[in-house]
């Protein structure tokens, strides 16, 4: 039996994901918060929400730092304390943990956590440069190693050690693109065939264009409460019952292994321990598929299969929407998009919808336990959260 809730989610919001011209981060965040407020009419945001924790990776995109109060101003949350957390692509996974800590400490009863990134107004070269800042500068960036390059180094090692194939990686793209066609907020609501994915332009061999997630604008938010007060705001809160986070060397070359993300394994282990659950108890998961190989690593690191069997898991269609363990029903970073700061709480948003039966035409039936897996950079940060339906 799963252990007691740490905190409860009483509402959640997501902006449209995509190329959203003329919008600033703060406006995208306002769109996400408006949905969260609409979903929770019993909540008076200005009176009830006591603090804001937001994930945001790069001030370079908008030449705008000091993201906490910027977003609080547009979300109608002044004068509540508002702070930004930066952990690369795991920024809002870290913000979610900060919100959990704030409630568990007894300091706050109700907080908002979220994240945002506005990326598409920059050139691909600029975005590549900003994203690369999350990798090791003096040895990786200095030697011309890109972000796809780092995951490609892991993919090559995985192929060599376990026989994982480029087709299996492409199958992750096919699956997630299909799920994205069922999500009206996804950036790219378009199916892709295995042939098309395999024939796409090489970015960093063995990774091709369709192995890479999208450059996307978007925002997400979650309203967390102490479990004792959740029922005041909704009949069906979702409880967070496990949280884990771990760090690894910033440079891939300093890690013990190249075919696994140790930080993700440790974060998962901690979250499972706290929740009193095992990998086989998970009914639906949103994992960090910034590259297709990353989803395969996630299966293995989270214990959904044995090390080296991740490629087979997707090939056997275990993780499709109708499979035994649907992974990335939202379309994932691959087709929903990856506005990096928004991703962690966008994953939590999808699990909230799934566990409250609000995921519409991509709803997975009979789900009770959900999991999110949010990775920063090439794996130097990982946050895992486990959720339970009420």
């Amino acid at each position: 039996m799963a252990s007691k809730p740490l905190v409860s989610i009483v509402s959640a919001g997501l902006s449209q994901f995509g190329r959203l011209e003329g919008m600033y981060c703060r406006e995208l965040f306002a769109e996400a918060t408006k949905e969260a407020y609409n979903r929770c009419p019993n909540l008076d945001p200005m009176k009830d929400i006591e603090a804001l924790f937001v994930g945001h990776m790069g001030e370079s995109y908008e030449h705008q730092g000091h993201t906490g109060p910027t977003l609080a101003t547009w979300a109608g949350l002044l004068p509540k304390p508002a702070v930004r957390l930066e952990s690369a692509c795991a920024s809002s996974g870290a913000a979610l943990r900060a919100g959990i800590f704030a409630i568990l400490s007894g300091m706050h009863k109700i907080v908002m956590v979220g994240g945002v990134e506005k990326m598409t107004h920059r050139t691909t070269a600029e975005v590549t440069e900003y994203l690369a800042m999350a990798s090791d500068m003096p040895f990786e960036q200095w030697n011309g190693i890109t972000f796809p390059g780092l995951y490609a180094l892991m993919a090559t090692a995985h192929m060599h050690k376990y026989g994982t194939t480029e087709e299996q990686m492409a199958q992750v793209a096919v699956k997630n693109h299909h799920n994205g066609t069922l999500n009206l907020k996804a950036h790219m609501q378009k199916d892709v065939t295995l042939e098309k994915a395999m024939a796409s332009k090489v970015v960093a061999w063995p990774l091709k264009l369709y192995d890479c997630s999208l450059i996307t604008d978007g925002a997400s938010c979650i309203i967390l409460t102490h479990p004792d007060v959740a029922k005041k705001f909704t009949d069906r809160p979702v409880h967070i019952i496990g949280t884990g986070q771990a760090s690894d060397a910033i440079g891939l070359y300093e890690r013990e292994e190249l075919t696994t993300l140790k930080a993700a394994k440790l974060a998962g282990k901690e979250a499972y321990r706290m929740a009193g659950l095992k990998p086989e108890d998970v009914d639906v998961a949103e994992v960090h598929d910034c590259f297709t190989i990353a989803e395969i690593l996630a299966y293995e690191d989270l214990g959904f299969c044995e090390p080296g069997k991740g490629g087979k898991l997707v090939e056997d269609e275990v993780t499709t929407l109708n499979g035994k363990l649907p992974v990335n029903p939202s379309g994932g970073l691959k087709s929903k998009g990856h506005p990096v700061g928004a991703t962690g709480t966008a994953q939590a948003y999808e699990i909230y919808l799934q566990l409250t039966g609000q995921a519409e035409n991509r709803q997975v039936d009979g789900v009770e336990i959900g999991l999110t897996h949010n990775v920063g950079g090439s794996g130097a940060t990982a946050c895992v959260h486990i959720y339970r339906r009420t």
């Binding site: 003096p138 040895f139 390059g149 180094l153 960093a204 990774l207």
Partner: protein
């Protein structure tokens, strides 16, 4: 020595006139065509890149060791979409090389065609003649077949 004095850099280095155990020093050695790592005199742990404090036993009693630049290729990728300052080199091969003492570095591999590159192949470090004027003006190292 008073506790508030930096033991890592500058005039007040602890008990020795050794080169500080920094990344800048590493690249200064690269400009002299030497691959140098840090070794902890207390616990024997070796570090590449060097670190000013042993992260195994927290000692700052360190020394420089010269690393044999021969090693094996652990993994590789071929970069087609590159950052601006590397775009005229595409496609180029990046690998992580494990040297004979177990330390590793990532870098560009030259002198090998993409068709024949293989995990496990023997490579050695080599050094560029010129110091880059970009970014931190560091010298560059790269890998090539033995």
């Amino acid at each position: 020595m008073p506790l508030h004095v930096s033991t890592f850099t500058g005039e007040h280095r602890k008990m020795s006139e050794e080169t500080p155990f920094t990344i800048s020093s590493f690249y200064k050695f690269v400009s002299e065509k030497r691959l140098m790592a840090a070794k902890c005199n207390e616990c024997g742990a070796e570090f590449l890149p060097p670190k000013p404090m042993c992260t195994k036993c927290f000692s700052t009693n360190l020394k420089w060791i010269e690393v044999d630049g021969k090693g094996k290729l652990l993994t590789y990728t071929i970069i087609y979409i590159a950052p601006e300052q590397f775009q005229d080199m595409t496609p180029y091969i990046i690998g992580i090389v494990e040297f004979n003492n177990g330390l590793r570095l990532p870098g560009i591999i030259r002198g090998v065609k993409p068709e024949v590159i293989k995990i496990g192949m023997n490579l050695k470090i080599d050094f560029e003649e010129s110091v880059s004027s970009e970014w931190h003006a560091w010298s560059r190292y790269f890998f090539r077949p033995v």
